[in-house]
Amino acid sequence: MTGERDAPEAAARPRRGIIARALPLTLVPIVAILGALVVAAVIIILSSLVQGSLDLMLPLEAYANLVEGAFGSVRGLTFTLLSATPLILGGMAVGLGFKAGLFNIGAQGQFLMGALGAAGVGASMAGASPFVAVPAAIVAGALFGAAWGFIPGALKAWTGAHEVVTTIMLNFIAGIFIGYLITGPLEAAGFSFSRTGPVGNAALPTLFGTDIHLGVVLAVALVPAVWWLLWRSTLGFEIRTVGANPDAARYAGMHPAFLTILTMSLCGLLAGLAGAGQILGISGFMTASYGTSIGFDAISVALLGRAHPVGILLAALLFGAMRAGSGLMQIKAGIPVEIIDVIQATILLFLAADIVVRRLLRIRAPGSEPTELQTVTRTYGSGTPT
């Protein structure tokens, strides 16, 4: 374009404090959250109208109950943390992919495979010492997830198959594969429904006399670890370079194909850990029809968190808090918990309409454009690394 060369140079500013730098990045996500709350408020008011009385204060009451449910008690806080934990890991599994220019829709399948690995190994080591059984089950979950990320990575690197297509297919394959194993070879005897045996000593220890398990600590600890990987290590530099410009990465002597495989495997590893945490820390076993939408919520979390580990942590806590508080909201204000899904979906809509939001709000801050959205919208099959 002709405008590029004459672009105002002074629009570039020196790097300032961390808050000043983060602000342009966080503007649209914050607008998205507020906008979604307003939309949900309108729906709540309309629903009160359907029930016969227009109650303009009902949304405030509902949101107050939501906050109280999520943060008002130790039990609520615990539930918030427990709900956020798989979303932190899953969100990073998607966000890390974004950084490498990959749209990992397969967090769901990688999560399920991680859960399967942890459930299988956990059940078989249920009687072993916890010091052996716990790490073994966690590692099994991580590796199963990594393997499920490796496959689409390798397919993309070697054949050019687009990861969006392959990971969606692998999500289905994971679900069916698990159904087969748990109704067959891995099914534990003596239960009224198909499930694996209890993980016994492989269960994650809980802390502080609450239900907070070791997986919560692990997830939070991995946030700075992933940040360090991306911004302080040479490997992270390579991942980000491939994501930003695969041609320049090749020019710089990097290996986009290798990095694609490695990144997808790391994504799978993180999602697998999320699955392992749910099995070993919460349920203690896995059923044949393990129902969850964590792998998909993780995509929303990654987008809301702008693919940044800290942003993902905050987004996951928000989503976790809404899950945790929705029960009290339903009991006290009579608003169905499904309103949470409305809020989450509306947030996603606002994020996807980034350009519209930006224009309406006259946000022109440099560097605030989300690169992860380009990954989402990039033409399928165009980015074949060689």
């Binding site: 002709t2 140079e9 629009a11 570039a12 290590s233």
Partner: protein
């Protein structure tokens, strides 16, 4: 003042009065006055970042001015969008053509303003007839059904002009129209432009930073520097030195004194290289040459004659079908980019946005783009930010990169400064071999002067330089020996001191296979071949 009929003749076709456009922290256009008379070729001269494009974007409805007014034929107007501008008879030919390669000539011309035979189908026949007639009038009959992607660059530009004519444009804005053309093609386009003004009374705004071209084609010249009009000239009353000084604001050495070369031992040899393009067609058919230490070997050629593939193959970015490359006597035919880098090869790629830079990364990361994994910039897996920053500061200072800070994203810099970042990275390591692919494309006079001087300096210090450029003047100015590339072959190698510009231009255009008076058929021949 009365508006008598005799004065009305002099009402400018376009008049811009006091146009001001501010961007955060910068005034891109500061009280600019510009008037373009009917039937006039008016050159707008200025360095990159001077504000030429902003001004034209305002005229074309792509940007809104903060102050000032635009008058068309004496009537004040507000132009809200490009379609608004087109309706008022203003057409723009962008530097990077806005054509769809898979569509035909006619489809490209009709795009956005499709004549309908009925509510469902296009009226192709009538449109094709009009396109043929317009083409014939200006001496470039083009097949309306030819796919644009199969045309040479010179012909694609004609299609752009045809598009403007088809829309009955009374004002034509050309943004650096000759950047991609051979001297012969340039001359042909100039003839078309003169015919346009003479026969149709079209007003032409000609944006350029090539001084001799502006002197040749323009009726009047307006020079812009840092958003302000700094002077107006008539070609007969000025010269290149005067214009350069106006444009840059100081004395400029237009040609770098390249001095004598003292070629040493052979550094790079290419031996019978055969290379295929992305679609698997062989586009380089057995190219051989050598580059010695302390000399600049220039490869001249119209873009798209296999130079891109040749450079990519030498740099390890593209597989070779056959042939050998040696560096300092060692076979590097299958070396990776990293290995070549490690052996002292510096490479300034043609497309800095595709290969040379990560625009969304800060300057610091771009300076160590291919050195990031080495000490002192990293220790094992851990990057050393301090070492990166120190190195960046050195490069920015030595290569005069104008930037508010070394941590701003490369994409926020002007084109010239972006290229300086790439050049600083590749030249700053004192390479043994320097491969420069279109090193100054789209840059302003000041940056070109700087990069040329740095290149000569490295050469004199003993670096072997391989220079590829579609800019013949650049090749002639810098090279010690010149190879001319045509359709995937080096058709001639000449001593730069004995080189004749016309002769090389002809070789670039025809490969030396047709007689000089056949040049007029050259374009037609190119079309047939593709």
């Amino acid at each position: 003042m009365t508006d008598s009929p005799s004065q009305r003749v002099h009402v400018p076709a376009i008049e811009m009065r006091g146009v001001t456009k501010r961007y955060p922290g910068v005034v891109a256009n500061d009280q600019i006055d510009l008037d373009v008379r009917p039937g006039e070729i008016h050159a707008l001269l200025g360095e990159n970042g001077a504000g030429k494009s902003t001004l034209m974007n305002i005229l074309y409805g792509l940007a809104t001015p903060d102050e000032g007014e635009i008058l068309i034929d004496g009537t004040p107007v507000t132009i809200h969008s490009p379609s608004d501008a087109i309706d008022r008879g203003i057409s723009m030919v962008h530097q990077h053509f806005m054509l769809v390669p898979v569509l035909s000539v006619a489809e490209n011309i009709l795009l956005g303003d499709e004549p309908m035979a009925n509510p469902v189908f296009l009226d192709r026949k009538d449109a094709h007839d009009r396109i043929r007639k317009l083409g014939a009038q200006f001496g470039f009959e083009v097949d309306p059904d030819a796919k644009v992607g199969s045309l040479s660059v010179g012909w694609q530009q004609r299609v752009e002009i045809l598009k403007a004519l088809y829309r009955s444009a009374s004002v034509l804005v050309l943004d650096e129209p000759t950047a991609v053309l051979t001297p012969q093609e340039t001359r042909e386009i100039f003839a078309v432009l003169r015919q346009l003004t003479a026969e149709l009374g079209t007003s032409i705004i000609f944006i350029s930073h090539k001084l001799y071209e502006v002197l040749e084609i323009a009726d009047r010249i307006t020079v812009i520097r840092r958003g302000k009009v700094v002077g107006s000239r008539i070609p007969s009353e000025t010269d290149e030195e005067d214009l350069a000084e106006l444009m840059v604001g100081r004395d400029v050495q237009l040609t770098v004194d390249r001095g004598e070369s003292t070629p040493g031992e052979v550094v790079l040899t290419a031996d019978s290289l055969r290379i295929a393009d992305d679609r698997g067609r062989e586009v380089v058919h057995g190219v051989s040459f050598e580059v010695r230490a302390g000399e600049i070997f220039g490869i001249a050629g119209v873009a798209g004659n296999g130079q891109d593939e040749l450079v990519e193959a030498i740099m390890g970015l593209r597989r070779k079908v056959a042939g050998r490359v040696t560096l300092g006597g060692r076979d590097v035919s299958s070396a990776s980019p990293r290995e070549l880098h490690g052996r002292g090869v510096g490479f300034v790629p043609a497309d800095r946005h595709r290969y040379g830079l990560i625009l969304s990364f800060p300057i610091t990361d771009n300076i160590v783009l291919n050195d990031y994994h080495r000490a002192p910039y990293s220790h094992g897996l851990v990057r050393d930010d301090d070492a990166v920053r120190t190195r960046t500061q050195e490069c920015v200072t030595e290569f005069d990169v104008r930037t508010p800070s070394i941590t701003v994203d490369a994409g926020t810099l002007s084109g010239g400064n972006q290229q300086k970042v790439v050049v600083a990275r590749e030249l700053g390591r004192d390479p043994k071999l320097l491969v420069l692919d279109q090193p100054t494309r789209g840059l302003d006079v000041g940056s070109i002067e700087f990069i040329h001087r740095e290149t000569i300096e490295r050469r004199t210090a003993g670096t072997a330089v391989l220079l590829i450029s579609a800019e013949l003047d650049e090749i002639l100015e810098l090279s010690d020996r010149i190879g001319v590339m045509y359709r995937g072959e080096i058709v001639a190698v000449v001593d730069a001191r004995k080189a004749d510009k016309e002769e090389i231009g002809l070789l670039m255009a025809t490969g030396g296979k047709v007689s000089p008076d056949a040049t007029k058929n050259m374009a037609a021949e190119l079309d047939q071949a593709s």
